[in-house]
């Protein structure tokens, strides 16, 4: 809770958190908030400009851009979050196992992680999509497949640090069971670490999924998705460039909010980073995760 308090002091963090939370909420309640059916074709309103009834105008099939934008939150943000949660769970479980039990389990898992991590993210996603065919589910599956190793690696390191801490040894001496020790002592300490890793990959995943949809490899028409909307807008880009604006800006706003939040989280977790002029001694440690993060993007 200390972390949350420190985070709340940072105004940028509060603002970014509100943006992300609002986006998620609007996405969840899309049917109640969206003024129109996102797939309702109305050829008379083709390329209509903004009006009181259609705040952001209409697209090439006369569909309500605002409603499509709101429904697009689901695949563009919510599903990505779900994939992230899934890979975090898998990674966390395996990472815990590796860091806690050590030995052969650890060695085997880490070799697998090495292999997964040595694969560039984009290539991996394209390979999975190429194998299973285009579609949103397949991209999400590819995300889970390549992200878990990353979580496992980070969480293993965190667990290794704390598995040796005196209070955990003490609990072991007292005869607390493995699961109990994990739940009571290691989880609360490793949780902030997980938060930083997931928030830092969240932004790049949103960018990536919309990118793939833009290429036509993701969600299939007529579903609304931000990348898909841009793809549709692209065919009329030269005559109606304004259709590129709304989905593009939505992506930028959400991704920057996520990135800001992730940076604030890191600062809140490691106050050393805040005192500027004195960067942390472990220069490379902070550099490499960032490198990996973009690698996946």
């Amino acid at each position: 809770m200390n972390l949350l308090k420190r985070l709340m002091k940072d105004k940028m963090a509060v603002a970014s958190l509100s943006v992300v939370a609002a986006t998620l909420l609007v996405g969840l309640c899309a049917p109640f908030i969206a003024p129109h059916n996102p797939n309702e074709v109305n050829m008379e309103l083709r390329f209509a400009g903004a009006s009181w009834q259609y705040w952001l105008g209409n697209d090439h099939l006369g569909r309500c851009v605002l409603s499509r934008l709101i429904y697009g939150i689901r695949p563009s943000v919510l599903y990505v979050l779900a994939a992230l949660a899934a890979s975090a769970c898998i990674g966390a479980l395996l990472g815990f196992a590796a860091g806690y039990f050590r030995g052969k389990v650890d060695a085997l898992l880490m070799r697998i992680c090495d292999c997964m991590l040595s694969f560039p993210g984009y290539v991996m996603t394209l390979a999975v999509v190429g194998m299973l065919g285009a579609g949103l589910e397949n991209i999400l599956l590819a995300f889970v497949l390549m992200k878990w190793a990353w979580f496992a690696r980070v969480i293993r390191t965190a667990v290794m640090q704390f598995a040796d801490a005196d209070y955990v040894k003490f609990a072991k001496v007292l005869g607390a069971g493995h699961m109990r020790i994990m739940a009571r002592h290691i989880t609360p300490v490793a949780l902030p670490e997980i938060a930083v890793v997931s928030s830092s990959s969240f932004g790049s995943m949103i960018l990536q999924i919309s990118g793939l949809s833009f290429l036509g490899l993701g969600i299939q028409a007529p579903h609304a998705e931000w990348g898909m909307m841009l793809n549709e807008a692209r065919s009329v880009m030269f005559t109606r460039p304004e259709l590129m604006l709304a989905p593009g800006i939505a992506i930028i706003v959400v991704v920057s909010a996520v990135n800001f939040l992730s940076d604030s989280l890191q600062t809140a977790l490691d106050p050393k980073l805040m005192t500027y002029g004195k960067p942390s001694k472990a220069g490379m440690n902070t550099i490499l995760p960032k490198l990996r993060r973009k690698e996946v993007a």
């Binding site: 560039p120 290539v123 999509v129 190429g130 194998m131 833009f214 930028i252 920057s256 973009k294």
Partner: protein
């Protein structure tokens, strides 16, 4: 040094084998029968069981799994990745020229990315907290949140359509490079700039900088010390960056209709042309391992301490 290079290559080889195996398995895991895909692509009207069995035998798919793999691996070394299911042309005759085009784009972009991020990273670190530092950092933060294809589309609209200065697509002249390279550089320079900057800063706070100054060395010599040590990080960072950029030109190529790997792969995915996808995965993964190994070796040449590890 020679020993280090050998050890490093000895680590890379098994990784390549594993990757090639994965690339091969991927194909086998597909829910669709390649024989069916081929028949569909050839426009055969009615697909019978016998026809499928015949095609499977033709493709060599009735043999044991491991034999198929080794056959494929050996012919891959000779750049023979089989034939495209869709066009029937040898894969390499499609992939080779596309790879070359993508490499051109990647190398030109990487050169600019390296140039920009080093110059800006060094300048901003030396002026830490100044207005230039703050504005470049803010700007680079914004750029990392920008979808590259969106930016690309806007640039095409503005520079090619509105101002009619640059070609919208293709790869005909030097000016065709300007827009795609700009989009890639904008997408990546921000990240690598931040790495160079933080590497510079952590080096500037090292004791050897203080001692160098305390010995009366000029600021230029001290900064040369810092540069030499910070750029070591840069070598490994860029060693990893080049294959990453190579793999992520997909979107940019698609927008600018660049006749490269990305365009080819996306079309192959949409057409379910497995041999091309397989070859793409293999070639890029191999490039990744190669660049990784090369950058480690270059780094060890700079920094003798690293040679002891491994």
């Amino acid at each position: 040094m020679g020993g280090y290079i050998l050890r490093r290559i000895a680590v890379a080889l098994p990784l390549l084998i594993v990757i090639s195996f994965l690339a091969f398995v991927l194909n086998q895991l597909s829910p669709m029968d390649p024989a069916e895909v081929v028949l569909h692509a050839q426009g055969v009207p009615t697909i019978t069981e016998e026809l499928i069995a015949e095609t499977r035998a033709e493709l060599g798919m009735d043999r044991p799994f491991l034999i198929q793999y080794f056959d494929w691996l050996i012919s891959s070394f000779q750049l023979d990745f089989g034939s495209s299911y869709v066009t029937g042309k040898p894969v390499w005759s499609l992939l080779g020229p596309a790879l070359l085009n993508t490499l051109k784009l990647t190398l030109v972009s990487s050169a600019f990315i390296i140039l920009f991020s080093i110059v800006m990273g060094v300048v901003c670190a030396l002026r830490e907290g100044g207005w230039l530092d703050l504005s470049v950092r803010g700007f680079s933060f914004l750029l990392t949140s920008l979808p590259a294809y969106w930016l690309a589309a806007l640039m095409v609209w503005y520079f090619s359509v509105k101002l009619d200065l640059l070609p919208t697509s293709g790869m005909d002249s030097i000016s065709s490079y300007i827009l795609p390279v700009a989009v890639i550089v904008i997408g990546y320079a921000g990240i690598y700039f931040r790495m160079i900057r933080s590497s510079m800063l952590s080096n500037l706070n090292e004791d050897y900088v203080l001692y160098g100054r305390a010995c009366g060395l000029s600021e230029t010599s001290v900064i040369m010390y810092v540069l030499r040590n910070s750029l070591q990080v840069a070598v490994s960072v860029f060693g990893l960056a080049i294959p990453v950029i190579l793999g992520s030109t997909v979107v940019v190529e698609n927008i600018f209709a660049w006749p490269g790997l990305g365009t080819l792969t996306v079309n192959s995915i949409l057409g379910r042309d497995f041999p091309i996808i397989q070859a793409y995965v293999l070639v890029l993964a191999a490039a990744f391992v190669l660049f990784n190994t090369a950058s480690d070796i270059i780094n060890a040449a700079f920094n003798p301490k690293l040679r002891k590890e491994f």
